[in-house]
């Protein structure tokens, strides 16, 4: 989004809290345990408790810019008179989100494509301009379902981030990727030391080691779109979707999924007043596409699984020349019935 800069600094791990303390008038979020084994982005109450040693969060950070429920405008109308519409464009406080994993920041880049290419969505833009993403490179071996490297990413990718932090021995290597990232570092003042050549060599070595960890492979990524097109009418879609219960978790927790619904929430029936609201929606629900007549172009589980996979690995590629999947693995890990997008791509997305 912003001009690329490259500024590399070092921060002692023990000084992270001191840096956060200097970021006044800013809401801070970082991954924290919400429940047993459940990591999510939480407001930073005690900076000293932020360890940045989290596995990935259950929810991706997309909600900071594309919240689950967004009021588009308020309306109120006396019958036969013109309604009063009040635009409710968001103007959130400046926010810094720490600990964003590279798969999720690449997810934000996909959201940027949807919400800013061709038409700049004012709600998305209003929030995106106020949120700074501080990423955390993944040094430790990936989880069983990670496949960022198989979809063009890496455990230390910078796309979508303002700052990338990499943990070394007792220190963080902190790289400002954008101008606003550089400003964030500047606020830390003396806490940051210039990265020496040895530090830079060390971080490169750490990144190389992270990239060397084996992940779930996708063969011939460039040929997946063509193969999916060829297999559009395959009976395997139905077969693979048989277990699906249509809960939509795979899309709600996806860092790239952007589909939404728009509805009126009425607070008073006379005179009629309420809010027009945009909420996350999912291609996995039958009424997502059901016409008023009852006709449904995607009437069964197989066609809805096909839509999810083809949107990510075929249509998005045709429209934007990149996959709309960043390999975070949430849809695989959190699916209650074990539907696995990598297996689907292996089966129907290979020439």
């Amino acid at each position: 989004m912003t001009k690329t800069v490259a500024m590399e600094k070092m921060l002692k791990k023990a000084d992270l809290a001191a840096w956060m303390a200097k970021l006044e008038q800013t809401r801070l979020f970082a991954p924290a345990l919400e429940d047993e084994d459940v990591w999510n982005y939480m407001p930073v109450a005690d900076a000293k408790a932020v360890g940045l040693d989290h596995p990935n969060t259950i929810r991706p950070p997309k909600g900071f810019v594309f919240p689950q429920r967004e009021v588009l405008y308020k309306f109120s109308q006396i019958p036969s008179e013109a309604p009063i519409l009040t635009e409710t464009l968001p103007d959130p406080e400046p926010t810094v989100v720490f600990g964003v994993r590279p798969c999720d920041s690449r997810g934000l880049v996909r959201q940027d494509i949807v919400f800013t290419k061709e038409y700049e969505d004012p709600y998305y833009h209003g929030r995106r301009a106020k949120v700074i993403y501080v990423g955390q490179a993944c040094n430790t071996p990936p989880s069983a379902n990670c496949f960022c490297s198989s979809v063009g990413g890496s455990p230390c990718a910078e796309d979508g981030l303002d700052v990338l932090m990499t943990e070394l021995d007792g220190v963080y290597h902190v790289k400002a990727v954008t101008a606003r990232g550089a400003e964030l570092l500047a606020k830390g003042g003396d806490l940051f030391k210039e990265a020496s050549d040895a530090d830079k060599a060390s971080v490169l070595k750490t990144h190389a080691a992270a990239k060397a960890h084996p992940q779930r492979p996708i063969k011939d990524l460039g040929k997946v779109a063509g193969a999916l097109k060829k297999n559009f009418d395959s009976p395997a879609w139905d077969e693979m979707a048989k277990a699906c219960i249509g809960c939509g978790i795979c899309t709600f927790l996806c860092p790239t999924c952007h589909c939404f619904d728009i509805n009126d929430e009425v607070t008073c029936s006379s005179p009629c007043s309420g809010e027009r609201v945009r909420t996350w929606d999912t291609c996995q629900f039958p009424d997502f596409t059901m016409h008023t007549s009852g006709h449904n172009p995607r009437h069964d589980l197989g066609s809805r699984l096909r839509q999810r996979v083809c949107h990510k690995f075929l249509y998005f590629v045709e429209n934007h020349d990149t996959q709309q999947c960043t390999g975070c693995g949430r849809c695989v890990s959190l699916c209650p019935v074990g539907i696995d997008i990598v297996s689907v791509v292996e089966r129907l997305g290979q020439p």
Binding site: L72, C259, D261, V266, C272, R276, T289, T292, Q307, H311
Partner: protein, 274 residues
């Protein structure tokens, strides 16, 4: 102009005409922009109409682009929003945003014979093209309009179709024979076959129920029409109108942006998800 695409302009209902009564009621709404703050459109484009408190529906604009004072929408009462619309009165104010979608390439059709084939409320999306052709009558060849409803009560635009007769051949049909009906009896695709329109220098434009479109296209192919000379307009459920909410896609296309108008040459290669 507001940069916020979600925020509708306001339109006052200037007239309501009951086209079809009963269970599949169709009304035509004439809507004037409040304070003249509106937009222009092309043939085939749609608009999102809001009944505040009920929601929005994507409706094709049934009036021709050269009519600037108002926009017309012929709407069947089917769901929550369309039912609420049918309950409104002249003078009531609705939200209206758009225009959305691509357009019929009418300018490329000058000098050609135009064959319109509509069924049910599928006459509305192609009506602006008919009106444009009639308004600029000298620029086009022979104009034929095939249109059918389930029964004579389901025929919309009765007076307007009558008025076309000097400028166009009109072939009406109903599914089953009724007393006093002097038009064709049977389905629309069959009516087309019975008149064997020539594909020579002709464009066929069709809209109606999916099953009708399917057989119309089959018959047009049999008559010798090429895929490039057959046009249709499709619909899918829509919420945003700007290609973001993700539900109206047919393959890589969003119907609200890349559609609703397709030549059969373009549509036949897309998945059948409409």
């Amino acid at each position: 102009m507001s940069q916020n695409a979600y925020l509708p302009k306001l339109g006052r209902i200037a007239a309501i005409k009951e086209e079809v009564p009963g269970g599949r009621a169709i009304k035509t709404f004439r809507i004037e922009f409040v304070n003249g703050d509106g937009f222009e459109h092309d043939c085939g484009q749609c608009a999102m109409i809001s009944v505040f408190g009920k929601g929005e529906s994507m409706i094709s604009i049934a009036s021709a682009p050269h009519i600037k004072d108002y926009k017309q929408f012929s709407i069947m009462r089917v769901g929550r929003v369309t039912t609420a619309l049918h309950d409104l009165n002249v003078g009531d104010v609705v939200g209206i945003r758009g225009p959305y979608g691509n357009k019929f390439p009418v300018k490329d059709w000058k000098g050609k014979n135009l064959i319109f084939i509509g069924g049910g409320c599928g006459l509305a999306p192609i009506w602006p093209v008919i009106q444009t052709a009639v308004n600029d009558r000298g620029q086009f060849g022979k104009i034929s309009v095939f249109y059918g409803g389930r029964s004579s009560r389901d025929i919309m635009y009765k007076n307007e179709l009558d008025k076309l007769k000097g400028d166009a051949e009109v072939h009406l049909s109903i599914d089953n024979q009724e007393e006093g009906w002097d038009g064709y009896c049977g389905f629309v695709p069959a009516n087309v076959m019975s008149k064997t329109p020539s594909p020579e220098n002709a464009i066929a434009i069709t809209c109606g129920p999916p099953i009708m479109i399917k057989f119309v296209i089959q018959n047009l192919k049999e008559l010798g029409f090429t895929d490039e000379n057959i046009y249709t307009t499709i619909e899918n459920k829509m919420k945003c109108g700007i290609g973001k909410c993700g539900r109206c896609n047919v393959g890589k296309d969003y119907v609200c942006v890349n559609g609703p108008v397709y030549s059969w040459a373009a549509l036949k290669d897309l998945p059948q998800e409409y």
